[in-house]
Symmetry: C2
């Protein structure tokens, strides 16, 4: 049977301008400019975001955003969500690439009996994170769940 | 014959904290915090960077950074580099994902006889961009080259 569901197409645009040495500025419509550099490991300037940082962070943030959408839909009583991420860049199959991205979400819910729902929502969010679906690296998720202190 | 060349492994870390609704803050070591939101298409706030923006921009910026590294190595007289990017997010093989990222680098060199070298460097930078190597989307590059005005 033919799938007649219609799917939207979304487009995201931005611009980069080289400023000096290994540094640049990115801008997008009415959004704040961001200064970027190559990482110090590649002779860039320290203390500045790098394209590698943005790439790795985008996976972590997209997982959060997907979680938030599902949590709202399911009526989860969410009290907090913090998550660290680490991306591993290494030589693999003839080229340098990100091979693994590991996320550690720390999720706080409002009551003990919501922990299982939060776990289920995170599982679904991970599976449907559109950026995780767009990369070759394996994305691993190691969450912990707690109940907000009274 | 065994490949005895040694390759380094690089790690990139950051953190995200949910702030309210569909918004969050990302931070990494001593780098400036960045406010992020889901895009307005997904019920987020306008005028704020999104994870989708970061993902798409990272491909554009990484191509630039790779170009800069090769240009320095080859002694290219680079006078300017600006590049716009568009990422297409659509339903493909059962999931939403980025299927195509199109980059338009506008590259200015210091003399006419450097245009071919710049073209060659961009070709190599595109092929070895470590973020392009890490994603499933097809990355298309449509450059133009010019000579800086006297």
């Amino acid at each position: 049977m033919e799938n007649t569901k219609s799917y939207k197409v979304f487009r995201f645009e931005s611009d980069v301008t080289w400023t000096k040495e290994k540094e640049c500025t990115v801008c997008a419509a009415d959004k704040p400019e961001i200064q970027l550099s190559s990482p110090p490991e590649f002779k860039g300037r320290a203390g500045v975001w790098t394209p590698e940082d943005m790439f790795v962070a985008s996976v972590n943030v997209c997982t959060l955003m997907t979680f938030l959408a599902y949590a709202k839909h399911k009526g989860l009583g969410l009290a907090g969500y913090e998550s660290s991420v680490e991306g591993v860049l290494e030589y693999s199959n003839g080229k340098y690439r990100f091979t693994e991205i590991t996320i550690h979400p720390h999720i706080t819910v409002k009551s003990q009996d919501e922990i299982e729902l939060a776990r289920k929502i995170l599982h679904d969010a991970h599976g449907n994170c559109l950026i995780s679906n767009s990369i070759v690296a394996q994305v691993k998720v190691f969450p912990d769940f707690r109940v907000v202190a009274e």
